[in-house]
Amino acid sequence: MTGPEALDALRDRFPGLRAHPPDSAPGAVVEPDALRSHLLNLRDQLRFDFLVFVAGLDRPAQSQMELVYRLFSWETKISVALRVLLPRDAARVDTVCDIYRAAEWHERETAEMFGIEFAGHPDPRKLLLPDDIEGHPLRKDFTHPNMIRLPEVE
């Protein structure tokens, strides 16, 4: 499979596929329930053999959490980003560790930093944070007793 063929196949699969900003990897929003089947399909049929990262975004204004699964194919040299929108107060999605082993630590980090639950994760311990920390530091409304706010400068 070549790069242009892979891009065409991606556009067939995801009608809403677009790169935003234009020079970034093309991305598409998928339903949380369909995420696993999409990833399986991309891995096995479109040769996306490399999960670059799993990352979270917090959108308190929209009461949404967003997950980004960035994939890359060493065969076609194409990148794609799958985005999943989750409700902020019940952010939960199935793990993809069994599809991409690389997701294991990424999901652990995203879970502790954003408070997103990855159902079925084989090792759901904290990755970076101390075990006794309360809250999720990368949520926009996170506060901690040790934090000192940066004073406003006129």
Binding site: P130, N146, M147, I148
Partner: protein, 171 residues
């Protein structure tokens, strides 16, 4: 000098003051000119520390010959870098494993105060004196090797003011 009753040993001798002074000078010269550093770096300041130990600056010229890989035979610990709360028990353990007399140098803004991470951080430790007693502070972000050498020599000077009759360096 553990296990020796300093006062009775020294004061019983005629002209004891001269002997104490010479003994101090000898012990302090030995200690200050052979300070083994704990091989321990925390963040980017550790890169400058390594540069100071390498051939261009070569702190071995001033008696910091051996980077000790074990805290049990280290005389001095250079806290070179940012300390987060998760690191605190590890630093405490290393410090407590070092034999007396032991010295601590806080190198760089982070080790002094938290540096650029003072604000909006849930995990920063704002200054090493919260964890271990610090003998010498070296400002900079990071300090140049010359500054570290100056700090090391400052520590040597302070060790030379010690007396076996009284532990610790004087302020």
């Amino acid at each position: 000098m553990n296990g020796i009753d300093q006062d009775s040993l020294l004061l019983r001798m005629p002209g004891g003051q001269v002997l104490v002074s010479s003994l101090d000078r000898m012990i302090n010269a030995s200690r200050s000119n052979s300070l083994w550093t704990l091989t321990f770096g925390l963040a980017c300041c550790a890169i400058e520390m390594m540069a100071t130990g390498a051939s261009t600056y070569d702190w071995a010229r001033f008696g910091f010959e051996v980077p000790s890989a074990s805290p049990r035979r280290a005389d001095m610990m250079i806290l070179a870098g940012t300390v987060v709360r998760k690191m605190v028990p590890i630093i405490r353990t290393l410090y407590e494993q070092m034999p007396e007399p032991k010295y601590v140098i806080a190198m760089g803004s982070c080790a002094i105060s938290g540096g650029p991470y003072v604000y909006d951080s849930y995990t920063i430790v704002r200054g090493m004196e919260e964890i271990v007693p610090v003998d010498v502070y070296i400002p900079g972000c990071p300090p140049r090797p010359e500054a570290l050498l100056h700090g090391l020599m400052t520590l040597q000077d302070r060790i030379k003011g010690q007396s076996v009759k009284k532990t610790g360096v004087d302020a």
